[in-house]
């Protein structure tokens, strides 16, 4: 009898310690030992500068984590935009005994078989910046509704509820990113009844194209108070307004170096103020730490939203110094920041911003 009681008490103690563990795992960095774990990055394409920076960010953060004895090893494999090859590479990574695989998928669905195999082999799979549909994978991605909302929130912080004319520069017709961001804009516009969408052009995320397209539509437009963008198009839009001798409206920038340089120049000359936001190639680091934290025992939701990198007036100079000419703003995502991002996702709180460089 006493033996059963002892067992019962032991079980109760066990339960409470589990509960305590859970509470600790809920917030902050999970400290489970992952020093023997290996994390691999399966990348669908390595042939452009954005992807090159993405791989480099992952490798640097991985090397640092290995040096700090947080993980044992990392590896990167890239397929040349061939989905079948990426699938077989994932099968190989299973065979090579990796504990977690982060995936930038070349197809939202065609890797499902391979990802399922990895999950069945007990491997943590984190897909990022792509909409992988296999439910066993964790997904780390931006929310384009928040992108659009942040743009309009800034505009309303400057213009208030006054009637205003808004020009939207979109990406490319038929593109998935463009479609989702535009839907976000339509949703966000509903919250601002006094704002009127007066025009829409396709700038292809390129300064020269945006300049040409905006120049083309400007003569037909009344006064434009604000311009919504998708990144890469802000500089061209500003040039178009200047060429037409119109005052510069609030043009939301997209974290490109030329856009920030123009913003600074206009601010120094006449106090021009705007706001910049965008995706960062180093989102691979977020996926890396999410995978590490899952291995360390942290409770992570299946979808982790990543904050967009936002630049406000006071931080402009600091960010501008970090960007190479012609480049895109990039940032480091250290372990603590990623843990905070995960916690904010769990608690459905506003995501922490990426701190400005000192």
């Amino acid at each position: 009898m006493s033996k059963t009681t002892a067992l019962f008490i032991a079980a109760m103690l066990g339960c409470t310690s589990f509960a305590a563990l859970d509470a600790r795992a809920y917030e902050g960095v999970a400290k489970g030992d992952t020093s023997a774990k290996k994390i691999a990055f399966s990348n669908s394409y390595a042939g452009n500068s954005f992807r090159q920076v993405m791989i480099k960010s992952f490798e640097e953060m991985g090397a640092k984590a290995v040096a700090d004895k947080q993980i044992a090893a990392t590896a990167v494999v890239s397929s040349n935009n061939s989905v079948t090859e990426q699938a077989s590479q994932i099968e190989n990574l299973i065979l090579q005994g990796y504990d977690a695989i982060i995936v930038l998928a070349g197809s939202d669905t065609a890797l499902n078989g391979a990802i399922k195999d990895a999950c069945n082999a007990g491997i943590t799979v984190v897909a990022f910046a792509s909409g992988v549909t296999e439910p066993c994978a964790y997904v780390v991605d931006y929310n384009l509704d928040s992108y659009a909302k942040a743009e309009l929130d800034f505009i309303s912080s400057k213009l208030g509820d006054k009637p205003a004319n808004i020009l939207e520069i979109r990406g490319m017709a038929g593109d998935g990113f463009d479609k989702r961001l535009h839907e976000g804009v339509e949703k966000a516009m509903k919250a601002h009844a006094s704002y009127k969408a007066v025009g829409e052009v396709y700038g292809q995320w390129t300064a020269t194209v945006a300049q040409k397209e905006v120049s083309g539509i400007l003569p037909s437009l009344p006064q434009v108070d604000a311009v919504l963008t998708q990144g890469g198009d802000g500089y061209g839009a500003a040039q178009a307004f200047k060429a037409a001798s119109r005052p510069l409206p609030i043009i939301i920038m997209g974290n490109r170096q030329d856009e920030l340089a123009l913003w600074k120049q206009e601010h120094d000359a006449g106090g021009y103020e705007t706001f910049s936001l965008g995706a960062t190639p180093s989102v691979s680091q977020v996926a890396f730490w999410v995978a590490q934290q899952i291995l360390a025992g942290k409770q992570v939701p299946k979808f982790v939203e990543v904050p967009l990198l936002q630049i406000n007036q006071p931080d402009l100079d600091a960010w501008l110094k970090t960007v190479p000419a012609g480049g895109v703003v990039n940032a480091e995502y250290p372990q603590e920041l990623v843990a905070k991002i995960i916690d904010a996702n769990v608690k459905k709180e506003p995501l922490p911003g990426v701190p400005a460089p000192k």
Binding site: Q96, T109, L111
Partner: protein, 324 residues
């Protein structure tokens, strides 16, 4: 050329030395395959198991069928540049219809195989270069696939996915299928008397015609067979990926050509080896895996894969020069 005896059995070893070289020429992709496996096993001994082979060769099943489809066309002295896009279209049809409306799916397959046969007829009747016709068709296949399934999706019927992950006794499914395909191809193309006629239609069509065979009929039948094999490639690929994607397999076109040539085939027509093609397809699909086991930096991987291909192909060309 026309009065020369049909050079169907292209290689006729005259002395033991060239016989050995001939054997090596066919055996080269097999040797390359074994060397790659040996390297992988030395890096990761755990891969030398049923499960290891299962994972290593899983994705090579569709490539084996796609390469055999390409081999049929190359046997006639033609080339098929629409092979990969066609496989993508089959994955879309399979993911959309095979589960809920198998009759519609079967009808689509039949129509598409008939279209392939019609392609053979068109190429023969109008004496068109196959490279142009099939290049054009690749865009048509892709276009139909995108209309059917604008964004990747759909789902493979459960039985198909289950079959592709089935683990039969003795060897993994992929090895069984590759072995069966190689055996069937060997018996039909390399051993049967009809196979001689088929190869003859590519090597010396006039001689075959004079012998009383319909070259048109042969071409139509061979193109239909190529369509059927490409259908099998699409079906097995859908079973593996569990979904349809129009852009899933463009690489199969040229990998298939590579496998045929690697396996002892020649663009002149009439010279192909089904066993060699299957081994060639396995070799090419393993080349990518080898690089990820060797941990080649990502920026070098694409180039390194090309180097492996080049080395194996160059080895084969050197051997065939010697054998002559």
């Amino acid at each position: 050329m026309s009065d020369a005896p049909a050079r169907v059995p292209a290689r006729s070893p005259s002395n033991p030395r060239s016989a050995l070289l001939n054997a090596m020429q066919v055996g080269l992709p097999a040797i390359a395959l074994l060397v790659m496996l040996a390297i992988i096993f030395s890096i990761r001994p755990a891969a030398m198991s049923y499960f290891g082979f299962h994972l290593l060769f899983k994705l090579s099943v569709p490539l084996v069928f796609a390469a055999l489809a390409q081999m049929m066309v190359i046997m006639l002295g033609d080339i098929d540049l629409s092979n990969g896009a066609f496989v993508g279209l089959i994955t879309c049809i399979t993911a959309l219809y095979l589960g809920d409306a198998p009759a519609i799916a079967a009808l689509c397959y039949l129509v598409l195989i008939a279209a392939y046969a019609g392609l053979g007829l068109l190429i023969h009747a109008r004496q068109l270069p196959s490279i142009i016709v099939t290049l054009g068709m690749s865009f048509i296949w892709l276009g139909i696939a995108v209309i059917l399934l604008p964004a990747p999706g759909g789902s493979a019927p459960a039985w198909l996915a289950a079959f592709m992950s089935w683990q039969p006794p003795l060897m993994p499914l992929s090895i069984w299928l590759a072995a069966l395909a190689a055996l069937a191809g060997h018996l039909v193309i390399s051993r049967s008397s009809y196979g001689v006629v088929l190869r003859g239609a590519g090597g010396n069509p006039r001689a075959v015609q004079r012998a009383g065979w319909s070259v048109v009929g042969i071409r139509v039948a061979v193109y239909a067979a190529a369509g059927l094999l490409a259908c099998l490639a699409g079906l097995t690929l859908t079973g593996l990926t569990t979904s349809g994607d129009a852009n899933v397999a463009p690489a199969y076109t040229l990998l298939g050509v590579g496998a045929v040539i690697l396996g002892g085939g020649a663009f002149t027509g009439g010279v192909v080896s089904p066993v060699g093609t299957v081994v060639g397809a396995l070799t090419l699909s393993l080349a990518g895996s080898l690089l990820s086991f060797l941990q080649v930096p990502p920026t070098w991987q694409i180039g390194a894969q090309g180097v492996i291909l080049f080395l194996v192909l160059a080895g084969r060309v050197l051997l065939s020069e010697r054998a002559r």
